[in-house]
């Protein structure tokens, strides 16, 4: 008897992503919500599920949900409805979650991966977040309802992913797109983005898919890949040992690096969805949907291409400037103020972004775009040189709130374009560094650097480098 030929296994992966939408208030009440507030301070009778309260849909959340959908190329439905998903848990104040069951806000989108894989997005629906149960306080279970009622968009992909790297790339694209559209911060550490995985394996080449398992509690992109690797390996091992994979919900144990059974199919909850009688059907006009589309920023990839092709930026600069929506918005403001694109990109990428604190964005550094635009204007007018520009940025970063114009004279940064004075300085430089002067005369232009440096020291950086160079070359003509 010969050993059976090794079977190649093919995983099928689908992802369900919960994204907290960026709104000031919750989905069905006027409570503010944000990460990190004192427990149970962002609550009201509505989000605490007091008797007699009713939900009122937050229009801004619908806008953000629709914009999220449109940015993913989805169709926003003119009509959708809200349903109740019934289950008991201490973090769920009403004993049901208001969600959208069979008529979601939007459907049919896609994300294209670098390898050409076309990942279809099945649906996007709105629902309210639950509170947060805290179990690590000894004999007590505590619940923080600050998050209860925060607006979520659940985005469900088709099972079009085949490998863990594809899954992380999909998530990365999704996150980029949603952040770019300004609909969510997608910060996994703050729970803005949560992922449930569906995965099955089947022999390669057969069109059939295997029995799938759902993996919950995966809290970072890295964990998604790790959890997938583990779960795929586990299912293959079960199948190769002649077993069958049970349909079940599993949880990712980050510390142990493995998935564990949470519940099997037979224990699965029956959520008894039914239309929420407290909320009328959600009807959106075609005009409203178009207005949401119009409110979206130029798509990221398109803007990157424009920066390269129309503005002539380097691929690197174009990528940096379109990595985050706020960076790009900053750059757009420079352009709107009339700054030259390449120069503006240069200063933004090389100087301004260096002040961004770790984990922050362009809005977290001290130089406002209007200020940089004024500095660029001074450069353009030839009133300051590059060092002068840096000095102006440093002054602002150091807390000096005077305008660049004021600072130029206060700090004596005005370029010395007075040809007489500059020529004097050049003559002193030649006298002080005869060796360098001889080298230049002998055609070694490299030696010019030492003379330039001398002039710069003499003028404390205020000399215009181009003019100085021209004068030195004239004086040293062989």
């Amino acid at each position: 008897m010969s050993a059976p030929a090794a079977v190649a296994w093919e995983p099928t992966i689908g992802l369900e992503v919960h994204v907290q939408l960026a709104t000031r208030t919750k989905l069905f009440c006027r409570c503010a919500w944000r990460f990190g507030a004192q427990p149970n301070t962002l609550v009201c009778p509505v989000c605490l599920g007091h008797p007699g309260v009713l939900p009122v849909l937050n229009a801004r959340a619908v806008e953000q949900g629709a914009r999220a959908a449109l940015s993913l190329g989805m169709t926003v439905n003119r009509e959708s409805k809200f349903d109740r998903k019934n289950y008991f848990y201490p973090d769920l104040p009403k004993g049901y979650q208001i969600s959208q069951f069979d008529e979601p806000l939007a459907q049919h989108g896609s994300i294209r991966l670098d390898d050409g894989t076309h990942v279809r997005i099945r649906r996007l629906h709105l629902e309210e977040d639950a509170g947060k149960a805290i179990h690590d306080r000894g004999d007590f279970g505590l619940v923080d309802f600050n998050r209860a009622g925060a607006p979520l968009a659940e985005i469900v992909s088709e099972p079009d992913l085949a490998t863990p790297p594809q899954a992380t790339e999909y998530l990365d694209r999704l996150k980029q797109t949603l952040r770019w559209a300004g609909v969510s911060d997608c910060d996994m550490e703050k729970g803005n983005l949560r992922v449930d995985i569906n995965v099955s394996v089947a022999p390669a080449g057969r069109r059939a898919t295997g029995t799938r398992c759902e993996v919950k509690n995966v809290n970072s992109f890295q964990s998604v890949a790790r959890a997938l690797e583990h779960e795929i390996g586990r299912q293959i091992a079960v199948l190769e040992s002649g077993g069958t994979v049970r349909q079940e919900t599993r949880t990712w144990d980050e510390a142990a690096g493995q998935t564990r059974v949470m519940r099997v199919k037979e224990e699965a909850d029956d959520y008894r969805y039914f239309p929420d009688p407290d909320l009328p059907r959600l009807q959106l006009s075609a005009e409203w949907i178009e207005a949401q589309r119009a409110a979206l920023p130029e798509p990221q990839a398109q803007r990157r291409r424009r920066y390269e092709q129309a503005l002539g930026l380097s691929e690197y600069d174009a990528r940096v400037l379109t990595a985050e929506r706020e960076t790009s918005a900053y750059f757009e403001r420079l352009l709107a103020a009339g700054s030259a694109p390449k120069e503006a990109a240069n200063w933004l990428v090389n100087d301004v972004l260096s002040w961004v604190p770790p984990g922050g964005g362009v809005d977290d550094q001290p130089i406002p775009p209007e200020y940089l635009a004024a500095v660029l204007q001074l450069r353009h007018d030839g009133r300051i040189n590059r060092n002068g520009g840096r000095a102006l940025l440093e002054a602002r970063a150091g807390g000096d709130l005077r305008s660049p114009q004021e600072l130029v004279s206060a700090l004596g940064l005005e370029t010395q374009s007075d040809a007489g004075a500059l020529e004097q300085a050049c003559r002193r430089a030649i006298a002080a560094q005869p060796k360098a002067a001889d080298d230049v005369r002998a055609g070694k232009e490299k030696a010019l650097g030492a003379l330039l440096g001398f002039v710069m020291r003499e003028t404390r950086g205020a000399a215009d480098a181009g003019k100085t160079r021209a004068i030195l070359l004239r004086l040293l003509q062989p």
Binding site: P45, P51, G52, L54, N86, G95, G141, R272, F274, P280
Partner: protein, 494 residues
């Protein structure tokens, strides 16, 4: 026995507005009467003497400053205890809420207050408004003031008793399937169930949200019109309130029914409807005809489907609406639970009464996978048919006339062990809730047995004005609210 200073809400407000009645004297008279009579009737769960007197003093100030005190100036109001009033215990007739007090006030109560009304007390009810007799209250049954061995009807029985026994000239109840009209009929009162969406449900504890509507008890058509006009209209806190402005009823009240087409419902004369009630419906029909209405007999289709449809829907929604009472955030919590599941089971077992448990079980069942289409979806379809049936009928008629209930008030305990018999009390009333249309009980005098009878008018969607015009005509013809018989009044006061 101290009598109230005015026979109805309209007259009371007029007396206050004219300066003939001091609001504080009025409120004190109401409180005194409630304190005197309620030990024998158990209509109230909570009396807010201090709040009511403060409100009366504030109103006095407004009058002194020459401000308009509102169309319901100084009129004492009893509020069913499933409607939130900030600071009042909100029991819903249940143990499960424990000492829970609401932190906010229902929109309808706010609006009536703004119109000058003064809430004085919270009334007894069937637990979470589930029942037709007020026997399902965790705080004991309320009793019918016409004969205290009889039920007052339900679920808004406490509010009905409060008005019938004269604690206050008007009261708020709530309807899911007849819970205002049926006790109004049993206690000889006017009782209005408005169009779904006319009155905000914000602050009304949900039983079956798609059917629930706050209703009003009063001692005349004008009382209902005043309260309706003050309370109705769009509320941003309730997304199911209608966007269209509500037509005021008071200005149209005296216009009569000349030329109105009235459909006389044949089921009022079916077997099972007692003779006296049949006679009163015919008398009401004659009165409307005499006032110029054109009557024709008609049939409400799907009669046999109405009660099952109503119970499938109300139990399904209730099973979800009552899930929030879990012992976690407020209300009763079992002390001896070791685990979460235990905490839920024990708290809910101790907190809910048998009828509430029955409905949660029925509703959970009909929403379950595998049964959903057979029960819940089927009920939704049946409901659509009911809505269409009303649309059809109201193409031919402006109003429908029929019985409110097949029989007058029954004895305490008579139907307690037979839920189906109790559910059949809703046979003539719950179709208006399914259809979302307004309906009113108009008292039609006492029978030979000394018990009140009532007739029901049903109007088209947002047709309260026409409905109350007809109620005003019948009030004239049938004599309005019957007074408590001398013997009953003496017995109560003793």
């Amino acid at each position: 026995m101290s009598a109230l200073p005015a026979p109805n809400a309209a007259a009371w407000a007029e007396a206050v507005r004219r300066g003939d009645l001091d609001p504080l004297d009025g409120v004190r008279a109401a409180l005194a009467r409630a304190r005197q009579l309620d030990p024998g009737l158990n209509a109230l769960l909570h009396l807010d003497a201090e709040g009511a007197e403060d409100a009366a003093r504030a109103l006095r100030e407004r009058l002194r400053r020459g401000e308009d005190p509102g169309p319901l100036a100084g009129v004492p109001l009893v509020v069913k205890n499933n409607i939130a009033v900030a600071g009042w215990k909100l029991t819903c007739g249940s143990r499960i809420l424990g000492d829970f007090a609401s932190t906010f006030t229902a929109t309808v109560v706010e609006r009536l207050r703004a119109a000058g009304a003064i809430p004085i007390a919270a009334s007894n009810l069937d637990e979470f408004a589930m029942g037709a007799s007020t026997e399902n209250s965790a705080f004991g049954p309320a009793r019918n003031p016409f004969r205290t061995d009889l039920v007052p009807g339900g679920s808004s029985g406490g509010s009905a008793v409060s008005v019938a026994a004269g604690y206050a000239p008007f009261a708020l109840g709530s309807e899911t399937g007849g819970s205002v009209r049926q006790p109004a009929s049993f206690c000889g009162l006017f009782g209005l169930k408005p169009t779904y969406g006319c009155l905000s449900r914000y602050g009304l504890v949900a039983f079956a949200s798609s059917l629930d509507q706050i209703g009003v008890f009063g001692r005349g058509a004008r009382d209902l019109a005043l309260a309706f006009d003050a309370a109705a209209g769009r509320d941003r806190a309730d997304s199911t309130t209608l966007a269209e402005p509500v037509e005021p009823c008071v200005p149209q009240l005296g216009r009569g029914v000349d030329g109105m087409r009235v459909g006389l419902l044949a089921n009022s004369f079916a077997a099972g409807v007692e003779d006296t009630t049949q006679q009163r419906v015919r008398a009401a029909a004659e009165a409307l005809r005499a006032a110029g209405a054109r009557l024709a007999e008609t049939q409400f289709p799907y009669e046999e489907a109405v009660v099952p449809t109503y119970y499938l829907l109300n139990t399904a929604e209730a099973s979800s609406n009552l899930a929030r009472f879990d012992g976690i955030r407020y209300g009763l919590r079992a002390e001896d639970a070791r685990q979460l599941r235990d905490l839920y089971l024990r708290s809910r077992d101790a907190g809910f009464g048998p009828e509430v448990k029955r409905r949660i079980l029925l509703g959970t069942f009909s929403l379950s996978a595998g049964y959903y289409d057979q029960y819940f979806t089927a009920a939704l379809k049946a409901r659509t048919l009911v809505v269409r049936a009303y649309l059809d009928l109201f193409r031919k008629f402006d109003l429908l006339l029929g019985a409110t209930t097949p029989t007058p008030a029954f004895r305490l305990g008579e139907k307690s062990d037979d839920p189906v018999a109790m559910y059949l009390c809703d046979i003539f009333t719950c179709s208006a809730n399914l259809g979302g249309v307004p309906a009113v009980n108009v008292p039609a005098g006492l029978g030979a047995d000394g018990l009140p009878r009532g007739v029901q008018l049903t109007g088209r969607h947002r047709g309260e004005a026409a409905l109350l015009r007809a109620a005003a005509v019948l009030e004239q013809a049938l004599g309005g609210c019957p007074p408590l018989p001398q013997a009953a009044a003496r017995a109560l006061a003793a």
